[in-house]
């Protein structure tokens, strides 16, 4: 069992953030000590890591709460409910993945096209990489000739 400070430190967040998550229905510690300390289990830690990962990829706490509610309410929800929510989130995730892949392509293209030298980056732009096809970026970039 982790006490609040231990779990917070392990996950590099503020103690108050844990209390905040508890108050907002995201993560309730599995137990309390006699003196009232919050006691978090390994599973609690995994839930927290799930929350932090989800946050990192752009889910709001409300969305995360919704995802976690599957867990909490499993006895009172039908498989139909679960599947509906999961499939909706899956769509979200797949859309985000598509966007991110696009970003990755653009940034990679840009990074590869860029010489990394000390000259003016006249042709180095994210938007050029985003807007145009690969061919364009490679073509126009990087003459740096002595004028």
């Amino acid at each position: 069992m982790y006490r609040i400070g231990e779990l917070a430190k392990a996950c590099k967040i503020n103690n108050d953030t844990l209390r905040f998550y508890e108050k907002n229905g995201l993560l309730r510690p599995s137990d309390r000590s006699d003196s009232g300390y919050r006691l978090y289990s390994e599973k609690d830690k995994e839930i927290l890591q799930f929350i932090l990962r989800a946050k990192g990829v752009g889910f709001s706490l409300a969305e995360i709460r919704e995802l976690l509610s599957i867990e909490v309410d499993k006895a009172n929800n039908a498989c139909a409910d679960v599947k509906e929510l999961v499939d909706a989130k899956l769509l979200d995730v797949e859309q985000k993945l598509a966007e991110l892949t696009r970003f990755q392509t653009s940034l990679t293209r840009l990074s590869e096209a860029c010489c990394g030298g000390e000259e003016s980056a006249e042709h180095c732009t994210i938007l050029a990489a985003l807007e145009s096809d690969t061919s364009q970026v490679r073509h126009e970039h990087h003459h740096h000739e002595a004028s």
Copy 2:
């Protein structure tokens, strides 16, 4: 050229959000009409879409501003600066991609394991799918036998 309301409607955001982005150095309209109206070009629209996509995958406005500054300052930045920033963001993106892929795997696994019926979703949990290996989830899930 789009006027503020047109661009806002086209991109499904609030007019005020565009003014806000302008004030915060994210998107300045290419031109103004004689009467002072903001006039946005096609390129401005693409920048806006870039901003909205970036937001959607979890970049903060500060980070987006940084990405866009490559564009704005290109004449005053060396390729070295550009490459450094781009490579840093690329790392970010790749990390987000890894997380999202993990989410996708878990959600897909859960969705596939779930019958979608009206029975209690006792075994349907995100966390089970996240924590365990595929085998476990498939195994334990979905007996729904008449008790």
